[in-house]
């Protein structure tokens, strides 16, 4: 997904090779995938932050000899959480366009021309992300209604989100999975239809 314009693909789905169409690889990701990836990212960010917070409380309690309880009611904890979330998104989007959630659901953030996202653009996208929430989440309508499925922060940062996993390869992996067949049952005497124990039609 990081290869560039040496062999440019047509932008229209009609002009896309059949294999790519089937795999959806490189096509703009839809709402469900992006939402699920975001939920996973929030979970990861929160889990890591809570662990970090617990570790800080523990170390501070030992160091000071007093009970230290940093919780979400503390403004500094909230600020720290937001900073951590900013670092998380900006770092991973700038690194390879994939956060943990994006990696799990096979999504990647790219420039709107298909190129890699630079660190500066990743920071811009991260800063613009709250705007999509602050306007009553209307910033996400573009994912549902836009031709390129871009949210507001995508438009501001000049980015797109695409499927980075090959659904066709996944299908082949599924077909090639190991299958264990049950040992053949001993031949049973023919039973009259409708009699107890006779095999009925499979559901």
């Amino acid at each position: 997904m990081t290869a560039r314009t040496s062999q440019a693909m047509p932008a229209t789905p009609e002009g896309t090779p059949a294999a790519a169409r089937e795999s959806l690889q490189g096509h703009y990701a839809g709402f469900a995938s992006r939402f699920a990836a975001f939920v996973v990212d929030v979970f990861v960010i929160s889990a890591v932050y809570l662990l970090l917070l617990g570790a800080i409380n523990f170390v501070a309690s030992i160091a000071t000899g007093k009970t230290v309880d940093l919780n979400r009611n503390d403004i500094w904890v909230v600020i720290g959480y937001l900073v951590w979330a900013f670092i998380y998104f900006a770092h991973f989007w700038g690194l390879n366009g994939k956060t943990a959630g994006g990696g799990l659901f096979g999504l990647q953030v790219l420039r709107d021309d298909g190129g890699d996202v630079s660190g500066r653009r990743a920071i811009g996208r991260t800063l613009a992300l709250p705007l999509s929430f602050l306007i009553l989440c209307l910033g996400f309508l573009g994912i549902l209604l836009g031709d390129r499925r871009r949210a507001l922060h995508d438009v501001i940062a000049g980015t797109v989100v695409v499927y980075s996993w090959d659904a066709r390869a996944a299908r082949l992996r599924y077909l090639s999975r190991p299958r264990y067949s049950a040992p053949a049952a001993p031949a049973a005497p023919p039973a009259t239809p409708g009699s107890p124990g006779s095999p009925g039609p499979s559901a």
């Binding site: 997904m1 290869a3 560039r4 314009t5 040496s6 062999q7 440019a8 693909m9 047509p10 932008a11 789905p13 896309t16 090779p17 059949a18 294999a19 790519a20 169409r21 795999s23 959806l24 690889q25 490189g26 096509h27 703009y28 990701a29 839809g30 709402f31 469900a32 995938s33 699920a36 799990l104 659901f105 096979g106 790219l110 420039r111 709107d112 021309d113 298909g114 190129g115 549902l144 209604l145 031709d147 390129r148 499925r149 797109v160 695409v162 499927y163 996993w165 090959d166 659904a167 066709r168 390869a169 996944a170 299908r171 082949l172 992996r173 599924y174 077909l175 090639s176 999975r177 190991p178």
Partner: protein
């Protein structure tokens, strides 16, 4: 009496022949007119050609003939130009000829490597519609029926497990369902997910 007459006649003929110049006589004879009067067909009917040929030693005749020199004087191209090859080939039972050919033996005598070295494979491949061929291949059936599938699974097992594939497939399915629903609400036809971005090269989508 007869013997004496015979002796006289022979003597007379001998004297006449001594006097007559046969060459001069022959010069005065119109051989063409003479030959025109000869019925050659009748004459040939009376000749036993078989008996004549039996007396001819053909082997000796052929030994004395320089065939190479003879053939060198033949204009083969002109000869062949007069041959109606199509008519000739129509009379040839090609199947019978082919049946007599030991193809295996012929093939064994062929230096395949030498032949292949002269073949411009790139030029041939350029003329082949590989995409068209690939589209006709039922890859899924091949993977199911061969060990290729297990190779693919082993090579990609570190990249994604079956569970992740399943999760991704489901979310993509939800994406499509939502997109179709939105398109229906907007009274617009849905033709599949848009993209990819211009300039993006998708691996494996050659």
């Amino acid at each position: 009496m007869e013997a004496m007459a015979q002796t006289v006649a022979e003597r007379a003929i001998s004297l006449v022949l001594d006097v007559v110049d046969l060459n001069e006589v022959l010069d005065q004879v119109d051989l063409n007119a003479l030959l025109n009067r000869v019925d050659l067909d009748t004459l040939l009917d009376r000749v036993d050609i078989g008996a004549v040929l039996n007396k001819v030693d053909i082997e000796e005749v052929l030994d004395r003939v320089d065939l190479n020199r003879l053939l060198a004087r033949v204009d083969v191209n002109q000869l062949l130009s007069t041959v109606d090859v199509n008519r000739l080939m129509a009379k040839v039972d090609v199947s019978a000829i082919v049946d007599q050919v030991d193809v295996n033996q012929v093939v064994q005598q062929v230096d395949v490597n030498d032949v292949m070295s002269k073949v411009d494979v790139d030029a041939i491949v350029d003329r082949v519609d590989i995409n068209g061929i690939v589209e006709r291949v039922d890859l899924e059936a091949i993977v199911e029926e061969t060990d290729l599938g297990s190779i693919i699974a082993k090579s990609s097992s570190g990249i994604a497990s079956g569970a992740i594939d399943a999760v991704r497939s489901r979310t993509v399915g939800m994406d499509e369902a939502i997109a179709r629903l939105v398109a229906r609400l907007r009274s617009r036809p849905y033709t599949g997910p848009p993209g990819p971005p211009a300039g993006l090269r998708v691996p494996g989508a050659s």
